[in-house]
Assembly symmetry: C2
Homo-oligomer: 352 residues x 2
DNA sequence: ACTTTTCCTGAAAGCGCTCTGACAACAAAG
DNA sequence: CTTTGTTGTCAGAGCGCTTTCAGGAAAAGT
């Protein structure tokens, strides 16, 4: 008996040579027949296909990829501010994962994922090691932290697309939703509900491009309604629960009265909901709250959160389609996707 | 000017030959040096490493994998009952994704993901085509639907691990939490709070092995407290919001009084929370609610959900470690992980 | 001095596939 | 009966790496 067992080996995987022998053709013919090459006669193709199915033959991706100098794989990289929320990925990006996976599958690409984080020596070398033909970058983080990495990717000629606001100075290509319009819309809705002192929770600095654009939308909506912009009613927060709670407590502590909150993300809005309740404030009677993203949680909290929905289904499609263009060397452009106000209970307007 | 641009090619990727030439050694030496082969002298290794870094050399995974007849990749497959929740993956499994990704990265494995669904001709052929060396299966679904597929995987000698209850008749290896103990614990806690009519939401049939085990725990806790098992207070539900709502309405409609609900998953529990509120019932005053999983949502709903926490961090580690053992041909066993009662507001006990 | 051992490196093979160029086989045209 | 296409298949090369085996140089033993 052999000392080391070879994991129930069974019959060795059939190769294209095995199929060729059985079909009485050469090995390259098998390869061509199976790939639908038109120079192979239908009769031959039929026979090869039949035998291949019979033997359970599957093309070896490693060999095929090595020969073809590609990987037929796209990598998705989650990066996020790691000061909070240890191993948790923002649910918003998670919900995009499904649609990206679908979009890849539809096009015959595999999807490999990584949750590496910028903090500790982030090295995007999937493409370097030919593990992926292109990369999708997902996350909210301080722009300064990752723009250098992006720059490097551009320099190295790596194919990648980033989801988020498309700044002019942003290295590489971005696909994102219309954050500005979303911010404007959310604020305008609050105003139309009679709210006059609207707080903004989320970074107002351009280190967080998405949040910044939403903030500008908020400012402009205020201005267009001739409402004053009150700096005391803005508090920084990244998209994480503990941070959102801190920000809410900050505006509460400011002593300034407010009757509405526009939060730059649902996670922040949900955090605000809890703090508000703890302070004996009723939502939406005392304070209207609107979030951003429409993560799955949004409809489950009490009251259900009014928010700006980003179409993750569409975003996923556009993201991989754009990346594919880039990979083929075709011209590709940054895309701004529309977003949509979803009215639920937290703003006091008509509930859907 | 060339008609077709070749995507800003730049200098071609360096190969181990390029490094070899520059270092004045042979190509195999480069390969060995870079992999830390002890037969290479430190001086040579140092030189090779330096030049490799200088040229930005990265091992071509395709070539390496082809030669080594493996892929250094693990595939993760989400499958779930698709009657509800279209493109959404159960948040519980999503939260496991992060830990699995981490566990794979730590061991030098890539992770490829697929959200295919059993419904339409599910074929797991990652291993067949050598894209993955092993597979992790994640999801709640009718056991009957997928056990045949599992059977086939076993027959083909595919290496895989499934997360869920480990039934004796379950094909392949499972890692799961102690669903029975969790169900028992949850129910016992409810009883200790003085609740006497405890409903169970979730399938009581063995088509859903995890739910079934939780149900048995529930039954035994009832029995040990000499409480009657009331069939009217059990309603079927798979882990999805609409289904949970339907189940809650069903027990409400039964006319039977109840003062507590043990839901087989947090998603069901959250659905119950909403329906209960709509019926003017107060949680936890009128009805205590306990869920299962401790998904991120659980702590965000109102009131925060008391639940049984599954340790996703640990589960991820054990899952890949078990799979790795299988892949190496070592003996591996099904594992049952402990789970833990997390007391929050929804049960009326001491809040954490 | 020569043989033996030890240490380090190189030549060559080959993983399974795809692609280029050549070549039979046959039909149509000169 | 040769020439020119056309069609369907094949031989061969090679993608970049790892591995086995053999061999040269230095260190040690006789």
């Amino acid at each position: 008996m052999a000392g080391k067992r070879d994991s129930e080996s069974g019959p060795p995987r059939p190769t294209s040579f095995d199929i060729a022998r059985r079909a009485g053709v050469s090995q390259p013919t098998v390869s061509r027949a199976l790939r639908g090459d038109p120079t192979i006669s239908p009769i031959t193709r039929r026979r090869v296909e039949f035998i291949a199915r019979e033997l359970g033959y599957k093309v070896d991706k490693n060999a095929s990829n090595l020969r073809g100098q590609h990987s037929q794989t796209i990598a998705i990289l989650f990066f996020e501010d790691q000061r909070f929320n240890a191993s948790l990925i923002n649910p918003f990006f998670l919900s995009m994962l499904g649609s990206i996976a679908g979009a890849c599958a539809k096009r015959g690409y595999d999807l490999i994922i990584s949750c590496q984080h910028l903090s500790n020596n982030w090295r995007v070398d999937y493409e370097d090691s030919r593990r992926a033909d292109g990369i999708i970058l997902l996350g909210y983080d301080d722009f300064l932290t990752y723009s250098a990495e992006l720059e490097r990717l551009v320099d190295e000629g790596t194919h990648f697309v980033h989801y988020g606001a498309a700044l002019e100075r942003h290295p590489g290509l971005s696909v994102g939703c219309d954050d500005y319009a979303g911010g404007y819309q959310a604020t305008k809705h609050l105003i139309s509900l009679g709210r006059r002192s609207i707080a903004f929770l989320g970074s107002a600095s351009d280190h967080y491009p998405e949040f910044f654009a939403r903030y500008r939308g908020y400012c402009d909506a205020l201005r267009d309604a001739s409402l004053p912009l009150q700096p005391e009613l803005q508090a920084d927060s990244v998209s994480a629960l503990p941070d959102g709670e801190k920000a809410t407590r900050a505006i509460l502590a400011s002593g300034k009265n407010f009757d509405a909150i526009f939060a730059a993300s649902d996670l922040i809005a949900i955090a605000a909901l809890g703090v508000l309740r703890d302070h004996g404030l009723n939502v939406p009677k005392d304070v209207s709250v609107v979030g951003f993203d429409d993560i799955p949680h949004a409809s489950m909290v009490t009251p259900p959160l009014t928010t700006i929905r980003q179409d993750t289904q569409l975003a996923g499609e556009v993201l991989v389609e754009t990346l594919l263009k880039l990979m083929r060397g075709e011209a590709a452009e940054a895309t701004v996707l529309p977003c949509q106000l979803v009215i639920r209970g937290s703003c006091g307007g008509a509930s859907a």
